[in-house]
């Protein structure tokens, strides 16, 4: 008997064509993390999976297989369709790109999975979705084991709200004094660091500074290849 998984909550991260009628899928599942699947015949004219195997749809998938590449046996919709367009769609692609590039296969993050679903629906519906994007980035760094030090500075002193800091993703914050020359470093206010620590980025200036910190930290993990999703927008994105 091949190992079988039934009705696993999942989202498709990426699809590629395989042969004439099949699809190769990268999926983010709740209990098995990121997995690769083959959906045989999914591109046939009458395939019932045709409209379902696309990113950003909440699915329940069943699959079998012992090897790295599992075989999809069935899939059904488990929630409503998100109406993503323009900048919002590009942001959703960005989230998928982060997961595709940074998650290791088969490492399950059930809480991250739930949060992913929430962030997608916020991205589709709410005005202030950039805050959710930042919290997703923070959460992702955390589950990958690269949590940022936001409450204390490098020397273990608590962050002060009214001070300015230099921020280094790998070391944390260093209080900015006149003796330090801040060449090319990230300067943030203590207020922003604490706001990010408390998951409260409602104020635009906090959001903006938090973005710089988080993206610097992510860049370290992503390597030299820049984020590709930003090329989806003709007018550069503000978020």
């Amino acid at each position: 008997m091949k190992p079988r998984v039934e009705l696993e909550p999942a989202y498709v991260l990426h699809t590629r064509h395989y042969r004439e009628t099949s699809l190769l899928l990268d999926c983010f599942t709740r209990d098995h993390g990121k997995i690769s699947l083959i959906a045989k015949g999914a591109r046939r004219l009458k395939s019932p999976q045709k409209g379902l195997l696309r990113p950003f749809l909440p699915l329940l998938i069943s699959y079998v297989g012992r090897s790295e590449l599992k075989t999809l046996t069935s899939c059904e919709l488990s929630g409503s369709l998100l109406n993503l367009s323009g900048e919002r769609l590009a942001c959703a692609f960005y989230i998928n790109e982060l997961l595709s590039r940074l998650l290791h296969p088969h490492m399950a993050f059930p809480e991250m999975f739930l949060f992913y679903g929430e962030v997608l629906s916020i991205t589709a519906t709410e005005d202030n979705y950039t805050q959710a994007l930042r919290l997703f980035e923070k959460n992702l760094l955390q589950v990958l084991g690269y949590e940022l030090m936001l409450q204390q500075d490098k020397h273990g002193e608590p962050i002060q709200k009214d001070k300015e800091y230099l921020f280094f993703p790998e070391q944390g914050a260093i209080e900015m004094t006149s003796a330090i020359i801040a060449n090319g470093s990230i300067i943030v206010s203590g207020e922003t660091l604490l706001a990010l620590a408390n998951d409260n980025l409602k104020e635009a200036k906090h959001n903006f500074q938090a973005k710089i910190i988080l993206q610097a930290a992510l860049r370290r993990l992503l390597g030299h290849k820049p984020i590709q999703s930003k090329f989806l927008l003709h007018t550069p994105m503000e978020v």
Partner: protein
């Protein structure tokens, strides 16, 4: 039994075609050599000619051997309308629908960040130049109804905005003559989101 190197080589060569696996390649090889050597010669000739002469239309990027394809050079077609599609096969499909008398622009792909396909890979520079020429009144975005196709459509719509070009996207949903109970839930959900008022 293993075949001679030349036969193996031919089979390997045929397998670059879509839908041709080892079995079909073997069938084709034996057919060409056993029954239709003249056909094989014609095939070589046609392939050589096509490889040498077929390029892209300088206006729409359709495959053709002239610098301008027969659709772009046809004076009866509406030059103010451009239908933007992903592949030459999509041009043929839309032509077969007999509904469209404008020109085309063939992207030869779609934007796909995870595959590293960006705007420069799908001819956005050339399309931008055509927009800037100012003789386009409407673009019809007929990219595939996939998330990548949608992203590509939004990108182009954004590009067209400064030129005040009317931008439309082809409708998606339930196939004609179909029965709702046989339509997959993803397509049906999309059809409900994109419903329109009955006039």
């Amino acid at each position: 039994m293993s075949l001679s190197p030349l036969l193996q080589n031919l089979m390997q060569g045929l397998r670059c075609l879509p839908g041709v696996g080892p079995k079909s390649a073997q069938r084709m090889t034996f057919h060409l050599l056993q029954h239709d050597r003249l056909g094989a010669k014609r095939l070589i000739e046609a392939l050589t000619q096509a490889l040498e002469h077929v390029g892209y239309c300088q206006y729409c990027r359709m495959l053709c051997e002239e610098t301008v394809c027969h659709i772009c050079s046809n004076v009866k077609r509406d030059k103010a309308k451009i239908c933007i599609v992903e592949s030459p096969a999509d041009v043929m499909a839309i032509e077969a629908s007999q509904q469209y008398r404008g020109q085309y622009f063939v992207l030869m792909g779609h934007l796909s960040p995870l595959d590293g396909i960006g705007p420069e890979d799908i001819g956005m520079e050339l399309l931008g130049k055509r927009f800037a020429q100012g003789d386009i009144a409407e673009i019809i975005l007929a990219t595939n109804p996939t998330v990548e196709g949608d992203a590509t459509a939004y990108y182009i719509a954004d590009m067209a905005k400064p030129y005040k070009i009317q931008t439309t996207r082809i409708a998606h949903g339930v196939p004609m003559g179909g029965e709702l109970e046989h339509v997959d839930s993803g397509t049906l959900a999309q059809a409900l989101v994109g419903r329109r008022e009955l006039e």
